[in-house]
Symmetry: C2
Subunit: 378 residues, 2 copies
Amino acid sequence: MKTITRRKFSGTLARGIGASAVAAHLPLACAMKNKQTSDKLGIALVGLGSYSTYQLAPALQDTEHCFLAGIVTGTPAKERTWANKYGIPQKNIYNYKNFDSIKDNQDIDVVYVVLPNSMHAEFSIRAAQAGKHVICEKPMAMNVAECDTIIKACDENGVKLGMGYRLHSEPYTQEVKRFVREKTFGDILYVSADAAYRSTGNPNQWRLNKKLSGGGALVNMGVYAIQSAIYSTGQNPISVSAQEYSTRPAYFKDTDETITAQFEFPSGAVANIMTSHNIRANRLYATCENGWFELDPASTYIPLAGRTSRGELNFKQESQQKLQMDDFGKHILFDGPNLAPGEMGRRDMVIVEAVYKSIREDGKKQKLNFETDYGFGG
Amino acid sequence: MKTITRRKFSGTLARGIGASAVAAHLPLACAMKNKQTSDKLGIALVGLGSYSTYQLAPALQDTEHCFLAGIVTGTPAKERTWANKYGIPQKNIYNYKNFDSIKDNQDIDVVYVVLPNSMHAEFSIRAAQAGKHVICEKPMAMNVAECDTIIKACDENGVKLGMGYRLHSEPYTQEVKRFVREKTFGDILYVSADAAYRSTGNPNQWRLNKKLSGGGALVNMGVYAIQSAIYSTGQNPISVSAQEYSTRPAYFKDTDETITAQFEFPSGAVANIMTSHNIRANRLYATCENGWFELDPASTYIPLAGRTSRGELNFKQESQQKLQMDDFGKHILFDGPNLAPGEMGRRDMVIVEAVYKSIREDGKKQKLNFETDYGFGG
């Protein structure tokens, strides 16, 4: 870890020095594909499901400011596989029980929580208490109260907290944010955003189990649609109305299948979103005073695409996760912006709760009142 | 008018013969650009505003089964202009007071009501009572009760009634209807439809005056979005929820500015629509079990465009109004289908009333119960 970090965050001072020292003397570290160097942060992935396996770990082979230093898994069989594949030393492998001892591991600077939603708060807090910076996957937690406990733990332990909102580091999304910031097409008047996929697999998967997920389509894909509505208007919503639909109750017996929601923004802009575990759609459309822009797909892992009333968008395609983790690394190492701070994750959970409340109240509009813009300009 | 008509509709027997006889002996008729012949229906436009001026009259120069035979206007200055431009004989020119004497005019087979909404019922009924077939512009009337009086008058007088829903004759829209009918992409799961334009002109125009229009964006562009939702699912909705937004109350002081609405269909499909007089958007997107299709623009007079998950759509561009009026002509002359019967216009007004009721009840879902599909297969 670079010395600049030591000056900025006293809490990481000891580890900063230690990590460099350890790297220089441990042969095992040299087996790591994306090698630990004095200016890279060591990341430990907590939860080795498909997102860690197929997105995050591969991306960490290409990151410039961080690398895959450790893993935390509840499945012993995965320990060897991952250790062999990525050259992870045994001392950097944890399970859920001995996880707290990670506080003594100088190789690990950041803990990335990629667990089922019900475990986000617990492991984010334990990571913070171990003095590690935290990246938390979306949705931030099961409810707003849990989000508050995560933010408090990170504050109290002097560690940084970022959401796994990879799109803020993605060039098409950043271009959308630029359109909004620079009023390229004038004021945004209306946003239509759909984020949905059709689930037909194992009905017992954790995403369809409310005790593990906290909700269905809304807390999963819906967060993308909420995010789309917000970064496409550059504002926090001041109200939300919502509706729920069910067509396959035998499959979606525990969680929401399809939800539509409408947002009002301070400028007068309106957003109309749909999220679903039964429908395939992944789109963002915004119409403005002097033109329009759209992304389709707008939030998939595969390359995004987009066009505007002035023509096609065409950006270099890179791993979104690589860009995201490097941006978080730059936040810690070089005091770069935190593109998706914990407060943003909490805000989205406030919105999620308001959506569910509107549905319980037969579509009644819910007022929202946020005090900060969480760095929309970033 | 062809003799086939005489056999089908006894009410038009005398006129059918008369029209042919008159045409053969009146020199003025020969000045008409799209000439009256024995197998073409004579249409009289009632209301010579911009839609008649720039869309319907030009289209009637190219129609195969009907022609511009007469005009009905409340503005005397327009009589000479139109008579000269289109070679309309003086005896085929009426004002709102002497309109009922059109019953004795053998040149006129169809009356096309293109007046402000508040005058639709009155002139549709007077046309029916004069024994003329009726095309009524959208929205059909000010409310469902008025729609009923129009339908009753046409029934009692043995005349045909069609809505001015030109898109049912338009090839991109017909392709969408084919996708639905043939399940080209499997079942339709979700439709997003926006029909809106940004009004910044004369705030005293009749469309913004509730006494003349009956409503704002919803009864104007919203009818397109409602239609889109229905023909993209091939079903009548079983419920609707709706929300209203206002950002320019000084301009839209009398009528709705922006409305979003959500529909449920018997199959489980969901539609999410937006209509506005403050926003520019004209789109139809449907996502299905095995693909998607979209039109953008979806309901403008300018050529439509579209694409699907299998590629671009590309149809010959013709005047939508020409196609529409010729289809209505074929309905009368050759017993072709009535692609947009009065009952369809009435259904849409039932939906409009339910949307306004949902808004008054803070978004509460309104049940809908329609008994027929109004020829969706057509």
